[in-house]
């Protein structure tokens, strides 16, 4: 196991240290000043997440208004370090109840120190699972074992759970109402040329689950993916049903998924952890249904005037609708005045990001609103050519639509007590980096 960190710092956007923990003494305590001087206060901030200054490596990422910086001086495993940061943040979020920002850190100093002590030892990452850590790092008071009153429930035994067969699930859970929630969340990444041909397109998806189930249930999930269907038809010796089958790439599962059974039967079966977790992640590169088409025309009229026309076409079903659609059309830096005409939504010029921002709150399927804008530019001394035209960016969310076409065929729950469960399934497609060159 390689070293992941010699020290970890949490900084706010100004560069003040909120909290820090040194794991090894091979980096000085003042290395964070070097980070502040040479990374935060320069224009390079955000260009490269790994920087080396003065014999130390700095790995940093920004989460809301906090910079998390890992400093190492040895040859560390960068991927491990970043994975550690990401996991630590999910851990903190689960402790703080969702939010992770400067205020949350300021309100939970003691807890964070306690967690930081626990999740890493001498630079080596330790158990980061919230379920287990919550057993012994608690936020409530703990009853003393010598107290006269007997405990209401047995004190959970962390050792047993960590070393047991199902390390991620506690025994003896009981719910009145047994429910399972399953969300398929996909984000579409697209790069389209100005002529409308797709240059790069893929979908990254994840299946999120929330389980409130009693006992030790065994779950089985069936999707309309290619491998699973083929195996099934092979087993049942009947041809595949007509309809689309999806080829999933790069599938990764949560540790609870039984991989031997997946390898032999190609079914996803697992004993779920209690509460929220991410069951699997996948990627799809072929057969992507793009939810939107963007048709831009940008004309330069002389040196100080431009005309922008953008038509956005929704290609999903007419009954569905997209939410929170934002189209960002970059304009030159010297834009002085803008005039808009839109058929729906609202548009304005944002000088801070040099974009025309067009927002449509609710965007029904099979419609095509347009924006036309007249832009006046101010003359500058540096006659730059307008060849550097960044792509148009788009943000959206389309509920009940999957760009990949993935569907849940079944979700079976089996428990020895044989209770009834309620299953909820949702789909949502979001924009990743959805860019159209113009």
């Amino acid at each position: 196991m390689p070293v992941a960190a010699s020290a970890i710092y949490f900084l706010n956007l100004r560069g003040d240290v909120l909290i820090n923990r040194l794991y090894r003494d091979d980096v000085g305590g003042n290395m964070v000043d070097a980070f502040r001087m040479h990374i935060m206060q320069t224009k390079e901030l955000g260009t490269c997440p790994v920087r080396q200054i003065g014999g130390c490596s700095f790995f940093y990422m920004r989460i809301s208004n906090v910079y998390i910086v890992i400093v190492v001086s040895s040859n560390a495993n960068v991927a491990c370090a970043f994975k550690f940061v990401v996991e630590a943040v999910t851990l903190f979020k689960s402790y703080f109840g969702g939010a992770f920002d400067e205020d949350a850190i300021r309100n939970n100093f003691v807890l964070i120190y306690e967690l930081l002590d626990e999740i890493m030892d001498f630079g080596y990452p330790q158990n980061l699972s919230p379920e287990i850590l919550k057993l012994y790092i608690t936020q409530e008071g703990v009853r003393s074992p010598f107290s006269s009153k007997p405990a209401d429930k047995p004190v959970p035994n962390a050792t047993l759970q960590v070393t047991g067969a199902v390390g991620w699930r506690r025994e003896g859970l009981a719910y009145k109402k047994n429910e399972v929630f399953l969300d398929i969340v996909e984000s579409v990444n697209l790069l389209m040329s100005s002529k409308g041909s797709v240059l790069r397109c893929d979908v990254t998806g994840k299946i999120l689950m929330k389980c409130f189930l009693s006992g030790m249930p065994d779950l089985k999930l069936g999707l309309n993916d290619k491998i699973g269907l083929e195996k099934e038809s092979q087993l049942k010796s009947r041809p595949t049903k007509s309809g689309k089958t999806i080829e999933l790439d790069d599938v990764t599962f949560h540790q609870c998924v039984n991989l031997t059974r997946f390898n032999s039967e190609k079914t996803v079966s697992f004993v779920p952890p209690d509460g929220e977790f991410e069951l699997m992640k996948y990627r799809i590169t072929e057969g992507v249904n793009l939810p939107f088409r963007v048709l831009p025309t940008i004309k330069e009229l002389g040196r100080t005037r431009m005309e922008v026309n953008v038509k956005v076409k929704s290609v999903f079903g007419a009954k569905m609708f997209a939410l929170g659609v934002v189209v960002k059309i970059p304009v030159p830096k010297q834009t002085a005045k803008t005039n808009f005409q839109v058929t729906s939504g609202r548009a304005k010029y944002n000088a801070a990001i040099d974009c025309l921002v067009w927002k449509i709150r609710k965007f029904p399927g099979q419609t095509e609103p347009t924006l036309s804008a007249e832009i006046e530019l101010i003359s500058t001394i540096a006659e730059k050519k307008s060849s550097t035209r960044p792509p148009i960016q788009m943000e959206f969310q389309v509920p009940m639509f999957t760009a990949s076409g993935l569907r849940v065929r079944f979700l079976k729950v089996w428990e020895k007590s044989g209770y009834n469960t309620v299953e909820w399934v949702r789909y949502i497609t979001k924009a990743g980096s959805y860019e159209i060159r113009c």
């Binding site: 706010n12 956007l13 100004r14 560069g15 935060m40 206060q41 901030l45 010297q334 834009t335 002085a336 005045k337 010029y349 000088a351 801070a352 990001i353 040099d354 006046e376 101010i378 003359s379 500058t380 001394i381 540096a382």
Partner: protein
């Protein structure tokens, strides 16, 4: 400032200041920039107030470090606003946002000019500030005269004149060639009579700049400067607002004294006396007081006065007074004052006869070596080093050695190097030198560079008397329990070479010597082991016939190192082992080291390299050059020695034996050899074709006498001059000392410069001489740019103009020394008296290092520079042409062997000679008619006409007719053009035998034709 009214601006600034982080700030700035863009784009136009507000914002954003590439137009337009607040913004923002190369500034020039010549003095001040701050060429060209006018106008308020003086100073510093300061000496003198001290201070600054460039024309200012000093220092005639802590305007005093230092010397006894009186008063009147500011001011004046005293070579009494004063400073309590005292004393060393007086303070200076402040210790060390000579060397070096053991680690290396150099330079006897160096190595072994002990070895090797003494000393040091590795190296080498000289002494038998050296072997590094091996071999050699026990011991060592991983050690071990088996022949093979050829001390060279080029250190360098080391190695140079460049410490001549540990010394040797080969006074073999070629262009520039002589020989001038060239080309070979090869062909450069006004005249590896010329009628101004291309200064620079009789040339003073990588400008004034083709010659010489370079260069002040193209219409041309009938006013010649060129090319050539080619005047398309005006003092403006008739069938010949109102001019011009047409250097120089069939007026055309008229006239 007038920000109070602008709420938007102050809100914006406070918002920026309240930003939590850089990102927020950027967002805010981008938003504001968007807003400002919208405002500026607004069709309705902005009021002056709004414009002012937004331009302030733009400036603020620009100052925060964001790129702002718009709004310049608005800023510039504010300059022309009628009210002060707007105008001020315009000026400030323009001078911040724009630099001198900006095109927008052109728009502003006119407005700025209007403000300058206007009546409103606040506007004048703003405009002058802008011009001074931006100071571009265009500004200088168009506004300098106005600024000059302001400066001397009596109607202006002092405030404006003060700013005008400073503005002019800035313009002059930036573009000295543009600002016309001719005839300014009188005005400067007038300005120095000014009563107002503010104006006076600024004009003195201007004077300093002017005088530093050319002091000659400002002699009239010298008494005025003295008068100012008298007024300030003696009469104390100063308004109270110009006194600073009771000192009458220290700035003005300093400037006046600085200006005086630019004059070479002051001859006028009266002026000298009064100046010395003032200086005396300053020297006497300065005292150390409590108040720091007062001290600073009075010391600034004092030290400038000291510099002036040194510059003027005052009589000894005054000098000793200065030194006494500095002595008081040295013993002062304030560290700053001690420092200043030491520094200035080091400067004083430059003056020759005060050293004895300085020496009186020697003890004081030595105690300063223990000052708590390291910068003072360093100064003290420098001063001691500088003041050391034969009389006090022993004392000082001993002090330094004593100090070495307590000195700061940061200083030890420098200290040991300096001690070593002083010991070498001023050693009363050589044994003392050896003592000192051995002590040095003993005390500060880590800081003693290899050069130092190499030098000891050189000395000992070259002085036989010294050898036993050195060996004894080395033996004594080896007895010490722990010695530095460098000491092991020295002693091992010395004992290896010379231990046989002490064989009789107790404890010095070969065996004992071997064992004591061998004790050190386990403790030394790989760079020392080869030296020890050599020592063993030498010991073995000296004990022939060998003592078997010793021999076995040594052989065992050699065998042990035969498989050493270090190649050098291994090779030595193997070779010595094999050699030592040769028995008695060993004596010949391992004979004593031959003496070293005499060479410059590597130490001094190193010290020179390491020294920064500060004033006081250059003094030391100067002194180092003056005093030749009297302990220099006494040696008989042995050119007959088979291998004089052999490695210093290798025992036998073995090319394969590359001494790793002597690398630095070897480099020294090769370097010196390198320079030697250049310095070598033997000229390269004469009668070498290349060499003659090389000298050819130099020789052409030979003494003007030759060409004057040839002037009388009217008929065969070309031939004779070429003969003269040949004669001259042979002559200098013997005496030519410089073997510095010019870069590029000098003759070609000259020809190119005949046709254009600026370019490179001469270049060699050390210097580049460029010229730039302006010609107006019969006068010209030619600037020589002498650029030193090296990191060392060029010294003994001399430039002499050998001008022919028809040119009056005045060369301003050429500085003696050109500092490293600097360029010096020497303006030349040229006046043309009468027409002649002769050229002026610049006799230029300089010294670089050890050799002198002398070149003679033709100056491109040729006849065509005094021509002014003029276009002549057919109506004017023909009467003129006709009126100038026949020789000597009109001359005709058939020129053969012309460089073939098309008519177009020829027309271009004539244009570049400043002839105006008039096409279509001559009906024959193969002919060419050109006209020009010639200016000289005797002829004034004189119209010259020229006609060239070419033969399309044979481009190598043509007929040329030249006409003018002056016979001499006609002749000279004809010859000049002929030379240019014939002698332009090209490969095809060989004149083909031309059939002698000239075609006089071969075009029979009708007489009504103007061409025919022309032909008839011919």
């Amino acid at each position: 400032m007038a920000l109070s009214g602008m709420r938007g601006l102050s809100v914006f600034i406070s918002e920026i200041r309240n930003c939590q982080n850089k990102e927020q700030e950027r967002l805010r700035v981008d938003k504001e920039l968007g807003n400002v863009r919208t405002r500026f784009k607004n069709e309705k136009g902005l009021t002056h107030y709004e414009k002012k507000k937004y331009v302030w914002k733009v400036l603020y954003i620009y100052m925060l470090g964001y790129d702002v590439d718009f709004g310049h137009m608005e800023a510039v337009s504010l300059i022309s606003a009628p009210k002060y607040p707007e105008k001020q913004v315009g000026y400030i923002v323009t001078s911040c946002l724009l630099n001198e190369n900006h095109e927008f500034l052109r728009l502003a020039i006119n407005t700025v000019r209007n403000d300058i010549i206007g009546r409103n003095e606040t506007f004048q001040c703003l405009a002058l500030t802008l011009v001074g701050n931006i100071g571009g060429r265009e500004f200088a060209e168009s506004l300098a005269p106005d600024v000059q006018k302001l400066l001397i106008s009596s109607s202006c308020r002092p405030l404006v004149r003060k700013k005008a003086a400073l503005c002019l100073l800035r313009l002059y510093r930036k573009n000295p060639d543009v600002v016309n300061v001719d005839g300014w000496s009188d005005r400067m003198a007038q300005l120095l009579d000014e009563r107002d001290l503010g104006v006076l201070t600024s004009s003195t600054s201007l004077l300093v700049a002017l005088v530093s460039n050319n002091h000659d024309s400002y002699w009239s200012c010298l008494p005025k400067c003295i008068k100012i000093l008298e007024r300030l220092a003696r009469n104390q005639d100063v308004p109270p607002e110009y006194t600073y802590y009771g000192i009458p305007s220290p700035w003005l005093q300093v400037k006046a004294m600085r200006a005086l230092q630019y004059f070479p010397t002051i001859e006028d006894p009266n002026a000298r006396r009064s100046l010395f009186e003032v200086l005396q008063r300053i020297l006497m009147g300065t005292d150390v007081v409590k108040n720091v500011n007062k001290n600073n001011a009075s010391h600034a004046v004092l030290f400038e006065a000291l510099a002036l005293v040194m510059h003027l070579d005052a009589e000894k009494e005054m000098m000793s007074q200065c030194v006494a004063l500095l002595g008081k400073f040295i013993s002062g309590r304030e560290p700053n004052i001690r420092y200043l005292g030491l520094e200035n004393m080091t400067r004083m060393l430059m003056v020759t006869d005060v050293q004895d007086i300085i020496k009186r303070h020697q003890d004081q200076i030595i105690t300063l070596l223990k000052d708590p402040d390291i910068s003072i210790r360093r100064r003290a060390l420098d001063l001691l080093y500088g003041m050391c000579d034969v009389s006090n060397a022993k004392n000082i070096v001993e002090e330094l050695l004593q100090y070495l053991s307590t000195a700061d680690f940061a200083m030890r290396e420098e200290l040991s190097l300096k001690a070593a150099i002083l010991a070498e330079k001023f050693a009363p006897d050589l044994s003392w030198y050896v003592d000192v160096i051995l002590q040095l190595i003993d005390k500060a072994g880590d800081f003693v560079s290899d050069d130092i002990w190499f030098r000891v070895v050189q000395f000992v090797t070259n002085n036989e008397d010294l050898q036993p003494y050195a060996a004894v000393k080395a033996r004594e040091y080896l007895d010490k329990p722990a010695i530095h590795e460098t000491m092991v190296k020295v002693s091992a080498h010395l004992l290896g070479e010379y231990s046989h000289l002490l064989a009789r002494r107790p404890g010095c038998s070969p065996k004992e010597i071997f064992s004591i050296i061998h004790e050190k072997l386990p403790t030394v590094s790989t760079s020392t082991i080869p030296i020890l091996l050599s020592t063993y071999a030498k010991i073995l050699m000296h004990t022939q016939p060998a003592d078997p026990e010793l021999q076995n011991q040594i052989w065992a060592i050699f065998t042990k190192y035969e498989s050493c991983i270090d190649v050098e050690i291994q090779q030595r071990a193997v070779e010595y082992f094999a050699l030592s088996r040769k028995g008695a022949t060993l004596m010949d093979i391992l004979a004593e080291m031959p003496k070293f050829p005499e060479r410059q001390s590597a130490l001094i060279k190193k010290a020179e390299d390491t020294e920064a080029d500060t004033a006081d250190q250059s003094v030391i360098k100067l002194r180092a050059q003056q005093q030749t080391s009297n302990a220099l190695v006494v040696t008989d140079p042995r050119p007959a020695n088979g291998a004089p460049t052999m490695n210093q410490l290798s025992l036998v001549k073995m090319p394969s034996m590359s001494n790793v540990d002597h690398n630095s010394a070897d480099q020294g040797v090769t370097q010196e050899n390198g320079t030697l080969s250049i310095v070598d006074p033997q000229p390269p073999t004469p009668s070498n074709g290349d060499f003659l070629d090389l000298l050819g262009p130099l020789a052409i520039e030979g003494p003007p006498g030759a060409s004057v002589q040839s002037e009388h020989n009217l008929v065969s001038q070309v031939e004779s001059s070429s003969n003269a060239e040949e004669r001259l080309a042979i002559a200098p070979v013997g005496e030519q000392e410089n073997t510095v090869q010019p870069i590029g062909n000098i003759a070609e450069r000259f020809h190119a410069l005949c046709l254009k006004d600026s370019g490179v005249l001469y270049e060699d590896p050390y210097i580049q001489i460029g010229t730039k010329a302006e010609w107006r009628a019969h006068q010209g101004r030619l600037i020589l740019f002498l650029g030193n291309k090296n990191t060392a200064p060029l010294v003994s620079v001399q430039a002499l103009i050998l001008s022919p009789s028809h040119l009056k040339i005045e060369l301003s003073l050429v500085p003696e020394t050109i500092p490293p990588r600097a360029q010096v400008q020497c303006p030349l004034e040229v006046v043309n008296v009468h027409p002649s083709r002769d050229v002026a010659v610049l006799d230029f010489s300089y010294k670089f290092g050890t050799y002198v370079v002398n070149v003679k260069l033709r100056l491109p002040a040729v006849i065509n520079k005094f021509l002014q193209p003029i276009s002549v219409s057919a109506d004017e041309f023909f009467p003129q042409w006709r009126s100038l009938s026949g020789p000597p006013l009109k001359l005709q010649e058939v020129v053969r062997g012309v460089r073939p060129m098309s008519l177009m090319e020829m027309a271009n050539l004539f244009n570049s000679f400043r002839f105006m080619v008039s096409p279509g005047l001559d009906p024959n398309p193969n002919n060419l008619v050109a006209s020009t005006t010639f200016y000289s003092e005797s002829t004034r403006a004189m119209l010259c006409l020229i006609r060239i008739e070419t033969d399309p069938a044979d481009t190598t010949q043509l007929r040329m007719t030249v006409a003018s109102g002056d016979p001499m001019l006609t002749f000279e011009l004809k010859e000049f053009v002929k030379e240019q047409l014939v002698s332009i250097p090209t490969a095809s120089g060989a004149p083909a035998p031309v059939p002698p069939q000239a075609q006089p007026s071969s075009s029979p055309t009708a007489l009504s034709d103007p061409g025919a008229m022309l032909a008839g006239l011919l």
